[in-house]
Point group: C2
Chain length 218, copies 2
DNA sequence: TAGATTGTTAATCGATTAACAATC
DNA sequence: TAGATTGTTAATCGATTAACAATC
């Protein structure tokens, strides 16, 4: 067994956390691994194995106290603190992400967007300013930014990521391009948005009548 | 070896496809598995193994013809056809997705958004109309919609997905909630957007000075 | 031909699942 | 106590990597 758990485990812990957070408050105080895992479509032993990486959070014969487990997962996922973040690239995707306010609830506070396009600089999205890329380094270090979401075209990604890292950013939420190069102490989390949609299309039944039009006919 | 390749393989095929699509046209005609995989940060044997699920696309001693491989991946991923799709739930996330025009290039054409909020119905996002949820079934079957992106609150997800499936939709791009129940011939592709961000935060170094503020202090 | 690189099998590695003793 | 359910080990399963014969 390696020292560090895999990203797969962390992602499931995040799924457990979200599930527990969304339970109606009038529900019971405790749940068994069998009950939780059934709701999430996984195996109970996997849930217990995942938690086992970080300690013991349940009681034999009883299950898991919901509030306690939620608090522990919150700690494990570092959601008990503010994460100021910025978005680099204020095109469609960057603006879309800025408008998706959901993250604020969990302490991810958007401080600024950055772009090189003079037509965008100065505009406000979701009440956050789009700033000139030239200001990236000074802004990031002054405001102790920990995370940058990368929403530039893929051929710019490595360049802006290097700049962000030099300005002290330790977490890259990367929507732009796979396989960027960063120092060992910087974490890159890739989001494969179009690839996810491609995968869905690929898995659709070939006989599916709704997708028979040739692209050329468009 | 199972009959069907895993979703992990399909996702990597999508990554290869995007990589090849983005190559400048003045680059060479052929690439070896070693060259491609180095750019993408994977092992060459994995690239060859992934392709091996679907056939033989290279030539010994020569490598892969870029245009040919791109075309074959396009077929495998079903990107050689139009996929009309809708977005269910026109809140922040649904609107954000509608504004993210990138998919159109690959044949994913947004035909409508749906919501129950009377204030949203009739508005146009990215020049596509937000329609009343009551029209979902008739619109979806009349327009041969194959894919629905689910952007409702998670407690509505199962309900709208059941309705979408009854209207003939075969692919669910699910941003709302894990573990929804669908018939065997319907494909669900989950996108874990907040979970991805949680995972990034969890992996950030504990000593990271940029994230030391208590959430309570906010 | 000699060098390069594939297709493909076999070996390794890691993740998931099953099982059950411990114990509430 | 008896029943329930955890924590944890061991077994299984699947995915990744290495190796190399085939061959361009």
């Amino acid at each position: 067994m390696p020292k560090k758990c895999s990203c797969l485990v962390l992602r499931r812990l995040a799924i457990y956390y979200r599930y527990l957070s969304q339970l109606p408050s009038e529900s019971s105080h405790a749940l068994s691994s069998a009950e939780i895992s059934k709701q999430l479509g996984i195996k109970a032993s996997q849930l217990r194995q995942d938690l086992h990486w970080f300690g013991e959070f349940g009681h034999q014969g009883y299950g898991y106290d919901i509030e306690y487990l939620k608090g522990q997962l919150c700690n494990i996922l570092h959601l008990n603190m503010i994460h100021p973040f910025i978005i680099i690239g204020a095109g469609n995707l960057g603006q879309a992400l800025a408008n998706y306010a959901e993250f604020e609830r969990d302490g991810f506070i958007l401080k600024a967007l950055f772009d090189i396009n003079p037509k965008l600089i100065g505009l406000r999205i979701h009440n956050v300013e789009i700033m000139d890329m030239d200001c990236l380094e000074s802004f990031a270090s002054k405001n102790q930014i920990s995370i940058a979401a990368i929403c530039t075209p893929s051929n710019n990604a490595q360049n802006v990521i290097t700049r962000a890292v030099n300005a002290g950013i330790k977490g890259i939420w990367n929507f732009a391009s796979p396989n960027v190069i960063v120092p060992d102490d910087v974490i890159v989390e890739n989001v494969y948005l179009s690839e996810s949609l491609y995968t869905l299309a690929a898995r659709l039944d070939e006989g599916n009548k709704s997708a028979f039009n040739e692209l050329n006919a468009h």
